[in-house]
Structure formats: structure tokens, C-alpha cells
Amino acid sequence: MLYSCGVVYTLPTVTSSCRQFHTPLFKKHPIQLLPLKTLKPKFTCSASIDDAGPPRNWEKWLPKNLFSAEKVLKSISEATSSPICQFISSPITFLHTVDPRIKLAWLVVLVVLPARSHILMRFGLVAYLSLLSILILPRHVWMDQLGRVSLLSGILFIMLGLGADGAPPVVQLRTPPPSMMGLPSLPASLEGYSYIIMKLGPLQLTRKGLSVASTSASLTFSIFQSASLCLSTTTPEQLAFALQWYMRPLAYIGVPVAEVILTLLLSLRFINLVFDEVRVVALGIVSRRIYWEKFTALETIEVFFTYIRRIFNNIFSHAEQISQAMNVRGFRGDSNTHNIYFSSLSSNSMANILSIMCLVCLVGAAAVSDCFV
């Protein structure tokens, strides 16, 4: 109480004394500064053809602000901190309770199958994956994921389907077409087989195009969607555990499995720190309100180099501190003797059996469909 009174009392005297000192200075300023400003050399450049009128303002036709430094930094600083696929912890679903090793096996199968099975099988897989996502994930998550993945694979499908056989066959074939070799051309199929399925002006959808397009589109879809489905129902530690289990035989031939797994986990944590750092430093530059218009291109590039240097400095200091922290927390540099606790989430044996059975059925169906075609 006492000192607060004192502060209030002294404040006016301090400020008034400041004003006394400053008033002469303020008066001097304009007198000193004006001549300096007027003396500043000024160059103007102009070019015109004699007989033409005033030069046309062609500059405004040039694309401007296509790549402005401020825009770039601003968009970096506004990016969300969380990466796209993240573990969803709150509603524990059926997939949460499946053993991570089975999920990893599913992932591998879903990556391999679309490439080597019948076209119906491929579309069946896509439908199955979307149905599973819709059933398991919260609404806004699956809308987001499925929307993005189907856009990507849709574009792929159209481009490849129409583009695979779009070029005339003369360019593609290594052997000359039959007409040039004097051979009679092959008779048309009797059963209504036609190589070209659909024609859209100059573009054509052929059987080859359909096969290439459906393979690559459904492969893209199943890789992305199964990965995001897996990541949103499995913690990184569980995945690391499954990976360690599968990699265990490799330890006999001298692969440092424990070290690989620990490095994987640490880098998964570290990636987020890097993203944060990139964001925070960009925010630091944006919040300085630099007049980018007054910068030359070289100066802008310099600012960017400062930005990148700053990020690297910060990341290295983070890494140093983290290694210190790991030491303090009892890590002695040997990942074989330092046990990692993977997860307290125990798997449900019913869910495990069910998912293994589904996996076996799927692989069997794929093999059968392969035989019949």
C-alpha cells in the first residue's frame, strides 16, 4: 500500500521533467531534417517513342503479387498446427480394440491387393474402405478424409483413363502396325468385344485405359484411406510396437531393431516441433509489419534466408535440449536396455479373431477372382 502511493506521487514530477528536456529537441527536429530530405538525390527514368502519344501503361498488364513474400509467410503462420491424420482418442471404436499387428497386416494387404486382382474386386475394396470409414470415424473426420482422397483418385482416374490410349498407337507400338507389313488385319470379334469402350471427341476410353485408371485410382484410394483409417485409430506407439514385432527376426542378422523403433518414435514427436518452429518464426516475421513493397527482390530473398537460418538454429537448439532431457530422464544411450512402454490399450480377442477371419476371406476372394479372369 505504502509504495503504491509513492509511485503515484512521483510519476508527475518525472514526466514533467522529461517534457522540459525534450521540448527544445522537438523544436529543433524539423529544422535539421528538412534540408536533408530536400537534398536527397532523385532519379527518374522514362522512355518514349517520339511520335507516339503518352506511353501506354503496359505495366498493369503484368501479373503482380503472384508470389508475394508477405502472402507466403502469412499462409505459413496461419497453417494449422496439427498434421492431417491424427489419433482420435475419445470414442473408442471397434478398430481401436484390434491388435496393431493385425492392422498392419491389413494395411499391407490393402496396398498389394488392388494392383493384382479383378476390376470388380478393386471397386469392392474401395466401397468397403469408404463404408468402414463412415461407420467408424466421426462424421466431420470421414467427410474430410474421404472428400480429399476421392477427389485425388477421381482426378487420377479421369486423366489416366482418357490419357493412357489417347496417343495414336503408331507412336506407342514398337512393331509396325499390320497394315504396313502387308498382313491381313485381324477379324473383328464376334462376341461384341471392342477395344474402345467410349469415345469423347478426340479422347477415347479403351480397355487398357480403363484397366490402368482403375488400378491406379483404386490403389491411391486404398493406400491413402487405409493409412488414415489406421493412423486415426492407432497411436504411434502401438504402430511402433507392431513394427517391432514384425522386425524382430531381423535382429538375428544384426539389424538394430530397438534403435530403429526408438528413433522412429522420437522423430514422430520431433516433426511436430519442427512444424511449430516453422510456424512461430513465420509469425514473428509477419508480426513485424515489414513494408515488403519497399524491398528489392534481393532484400526479400535475404529475409527468407534469415528465416531459414533462424529455423535451423532453433531446431538444433531444440534437439540439444531434448537429448539433455532424455539423459536426465534416465536414457543411457542404449535402446536395448531402455524399455519403451507402448500402450495401455489392450486388444479385444473377439475383435482380433473377427478381423483376422475377414482378412483371410479377403485374400482368398482375391486369389479366386485372379484365377477366374
Binding site: L2, Y3, G6, V7, Y9, T10, S81, S82, Q86, F87, S89, T235, P236, E237, L265, L266, L268, R269, N272, L273, D276, H318, Q321, I322, Q324, A325, M326, N327, V328, R329, G330, F331, R332, T337, H338, N339, I340, Y341, F342, S343, S344, L345
Partner: protein, 262 residues
């Protein structure tokens, strides 16, 4: 390795001191942390010797919750790092009970695993515990800091204060004899901060013979402490029970204000 000899003569380059109790000069068992005339200096790039700590002496009885106060840059973090064994003092005597754990000022440096529960359990990796034991300890530690429902959350989705609680839980899970906590309240808001202090005090009370040293800027936290140390410019100025330190700092503040006004 003749540690005894180097300790007795207080040689300029002491090995990292984790001495055993019989070596202590006035060896009373009741102190969990005891340092005498500890000095610390670093060489700058211009080959100049900078003294960061000078003649620091502290005695903290075991089983108590103490605070370390002082203005910015007075050497609190440095002293704590010396106590934790991260830095070795240039000179002086030091004893800290073992096992001890240290929580960093910035939780992003301390939290090393992607998921909360795995991180809290990280410090337990050096012991041979069964998964069931680890699960139990993790649950207890997270419960103590009020974060049990965040068990399986990805760490990067937590706020700064929540990360700090996770870092504390990691230290608590090890059930150490000495807890060294560096300025945890920087990321916490007013209510969060008192909550964390209470959580630490609660876990001290529940397990016997645990000592904590808490670095802070905020005077209002002093009422929760059993004792406090006040530092300035790398020296320990005052050392005693919380109310004495509180009076001392208030006194200094008043005299400082009087000096300005005069």
C-alpha cells in the same frame, strides 16, 4: 578415481559430485540437498571467464517443499542444472539425494514421446518393471496432476500448461527422492498454477521423504512453501523459512521505491 582426495582439498576441477553420505563435512542425514560455496563459470567465445554463480550455499531439509526466487538471469536455472548433474560446478561441495528428477523450463524439451502415456512412462524404461506396474504408476502420476483423461492424447494437441503437467507427471512417476522443478508456472495461468503447486504438494505428502525445489518468479506462490532461497546476481542472498523471505523481499522492494522517490 580418487574422489575422496579431490573432495577434501576442494580442487578446482571436481568430478560430477554425487558423493556418498560419509564424505559430507557436516554430514547430517536430514538434508536432501546441501551445497557449499558452489561456484560456476563459463568461458565465452572471446575467451573471457564469466562467473555465473559465486559462493552459493544452500541446505534443504528432506521432505520439504522449497522455492528458489530471484530476478531474471540471476542464475536459478543454472543452479538447478548443477543440482541435477547436468552441469558440474567449477568449485565447491555438493550433495543431492538420489534418485532425483528434473523438469525443464520448456515442456517441449522434456516431452519426448508422441503420446501422453508413453511419455510419462519413458523415465521408467531403465527399471525392470512389468507392464502392469508401469500402467499403475502412469495412472497414479497423471491422476496427481489432473490429466488422467488425457492418457492417450497426442502430445501436440495439448496446450502449453497441459504439456507442463505431463512433464511433471513424468517426474512424479519415477517416485524420486528429490524433485527439481524449473519455473513451471511460465506456461500456466493463475488457477492452473496453484493447481499444479497443490498437485506437487499432494504427491509430496502422499509419499514420505520426498523433497522438491521449485523455481519461481511469483511471490504469491511463497505461501505454499516450507522454505525459500532468494538469489541475486549469482549469489544466495537469503535462505530461510517462507515468511522471513517474504518479509525480506517486501522490505527490499519498499527501500528500493523509497530510494527512487528520494
Amino acid at each position: 578415481m580418487n574422489i575422496t582426495a579431490s573432495l577434501g582439498t576442494s580442487a578446482p576441477h571436481l568430478p560430477p559430485l554425487h558423493s556418498s553420505p560419509p564424505l559430507r563435512p557436516n554430514g547430517t542425514e536430514s538434508f536432501a540437498i546441501e551445497i557449499q560455496n558452489v561456484k560456476f563459470s563459463v568461458k565465452t567465445k572471446q575467451k573471457k571467464l564469466v562467473h555465473i554463480l559465486e559462493d552459493c550455499s544452500i541446505q534443504i531439509p528432506s521432505g520439504q517443499f522449497w522455492m528458489l526466487l530471484g530476478p531474471n538471469g540471476c542464475g536459478k536455472s543454472t543452479l538447478l542444472k548443477i543440482l541435477a548433474g547436468l552441469l558440474s560446478p567449477t568449485d565447491g561441495f555438493m550433495y543431492v539425494k538420489k534418485p532425483k528428477s528434473f523438469v525443464f523450463q520448456n515442456p517441449d524439451h522434456q516431452v519426448v514421446m508422441p503420446t501422453v502415456e508413453a511419455d510419462v512412462a519413458f523415465g521408467l524404461g531403465k527399471y525392470r518393471f512389468t507392464p502392469e506396474q508401469i500402467r499403475c504408476r502412469v495412472a497414479k502420476a497423471l491422476d496427481a496432476v489432473g490429466m488422467y483423461e488425457y492418457l492417450r492424447r497426442p502430445v501436440q494437441t495439448l496446450s502449453g500448461g497441459q504439456k507442463q503437467r505431463v512433464a511433471i507427471a513424468g517426474a512424479l512417476a519415477e517416485e524420486c527422492k528429490v524433485l527439481l522443478l524449473d519455473e513451471l508456472t511460465t506456461f500456466l495461468d493463475e488457477t492452473d498454477q496453484i493447481g499444479v503447486i497443490k498437485a506437487v504438494k499432494k504427491s509430496l505428502a502422499s509419499s514420505d521423504d520426498v523433497t522438491a525445489l521449485w523455481v519461481t518468479h511469483r511471490l504469491e506462490e511463497l505461501e505454499y512453501a516450507d522454505g525459500a532461497v532468494y538469489m541475486e546476481d549469482g549469489r544466495v542472498i537469503m535462505h530461510g523459512d517462507a515468511s522471513t523471505i517474504m518479509e525480506f523481499i517486501e522490505d527490499r522492494k519498499n527501500s528500493y521505491i523509497r530510494k527512487i522517490n528520494a
